[in-house]
Symmetry: C2
Subunit: 279 residues, 2 copies
């Protein structure tokens, strides 16, 4: 298939590499000349251009842009997408994007691959990013059945599992398992960096090991992403933070009251629940 | 050197393997016949026994026991340790252990290797566990200089870095970077598992990816360890939780007030601070 990818960062670049390996012809849109050159060097697509007219060729177009550019797409981008092409995006929130794009294009289906790293930009893509990943699609009652089918088949062909849900439920679920962790990690890093006690901060820094590294990892990512998630999934994120605070308060109370029996039960319960999330 | 290791779980077993590779002779104490057999099969020590008298041979003894057994050691264990042997422990809290053992043995120095996995028990040890790890020693004004020197040299010989601090400062620092993350991870798991909305819990489970997996990892560990840390580092842990809650509340307020500029600044700040903790 002739596939257009708009944006050749971590997700777009990885898609370009993977889809070329499956013998599709990839038309990649870079946002500037420097990235165009790098994308060509890295062979992220068969054809790379900054000119959106390249999309005129494409039967299917994947919008791999930052959330803000998906919610407020340029007029030029919208005009460049043929009305008969299938269109999807890969943004981490779905409700505002789907709401916008369903109005803009008859064959749009929102989607979101559950895969990522802390890297970003044209240097960060790699072919294996989506291996065994869960990929959410969020069609609505307005969606074209042929678009759902075509986009689903493309996703499956990349060895991904598909999960179909509504934009609303997607945004709630990811607020818990993806967006909340970013803000927890960020608060943990700030807490460990005791500004009023430099020698303690230095010692904590020295002793930090794999436990701290893993728990704080997603707090080390691109602040622009965290910000966009907060802006575009604000209510769900606040709910998730509130929910988390209630759970933490319960644990704190057990520690204060030295209710070791119940604390042990709670820790064991969480350990068991986690197994369902990981396997 | 003839080295005794009391307890052949993750830390004790890994020490047995590593120290044998450095040509020490290891005398391992298992807590029951089943573990003795397994430890022999896994060659965790040159000699393995359940009989504490084995320690009579040893010039240096490492206590690799659960915290509660370090704070309340059996009389038999104390009686089996020669007065002229050097003694250290590897417990994750230091103040209560050092307080106890300084009274029990003239050549005791508290220590704590900053290394671990979620595994436990006689099957979990492996030679590489301590590779490049930071290892804390917490001598006090009562400590024997020769004991400090001997134990430090042994630690360095295992390719570990040494950090010397007081038991009190150790316990404060680890409450932030090691104990706090366990309770955050546990609360995160409970929050993601929305009990009042099973379909959301199921969807969250399906979509959970590496971000959730890493952020929650230390909440998947042995609840007995979490419990012992809460019991034996209670005040510092409560301080750390409180400190964390203040940071999270600040982020929450910025999200509520849509103060995106400051939120972005805070996320970027945490990202920068994290680099100092990881490198």
């Amino acid at each position: 298939m002739k596939i257009g990818i708009v944006g050749l960062g971590l997700i777009g670049g990885s898609l370009g590499l993977k889809l070329q390996s499956l013998n599709h012809t990839i038309y990649g849109i870079a946002n500037n000349e420097i990235n165009k050159k790098k994308a060509k060097e890295k062979k992220l697509a068969n054809f790379v251009s900054c000119d959106l007219n390249l999309l005129k060729e494409c039967e299917l177009i994947i919008l791999a842009l930052p959330i803000k550019d998906l919610i407020n797409p340029s007029e030029q981008l919208v005009a460049s997408i043929p009305q008969e092409s299938f269109v999807t995006d890969v943004g981490s929130v779905k409700e505002p994007i789907v709401k916008k794009w369903e109005k803009l294009h008859p064959l749009f289906i929102g989607s979101h691959p559950m895969a990522g790293t802390e890297q970003r930009g044209v240097d960060s893509g790699f072919e294996g990013l989506f291996k065994n990943a869960m990929w959410v699609i969020t069609p609505t009652k307005n969606s074209d059945l042929n678009a759902i089918k075509t986009i689903s088949e493309l996703i499956k062909s990349m060895s991904c599992s598909i999960c179909q849900t509504t934009p609303k439920d997607h945004d709630k679920a990811v607020s818990l398992i993806s967006h909340l962790p970013i803000f927890l990690a960020s608060a943990l890093i700030e807490a460990a960096h005791t500004k009023n006690n430099q020698s303690l901060a230095d010692l904590a820094q020295k002793l930090a090991s794999t436990g701290f590294s893993d728990t704080s990892r997603v707090g080390g990512g691109n602040e622009q992403l965290g910000l966009e998630l907060a802006i575009n999934n604000q209510i769900n994120l606040l709910d998730a933070i509130n929910n988390f605070k209630n759970k933490l308060n319960s644990l704190e109370l057990l520690i204060k009251e030295k209710n070791w029996e119940l604390l042990s039960k709670k820790l064991a319960e969480a350990k068991e629940i986690r197994k369902n999330f990981i396997n």
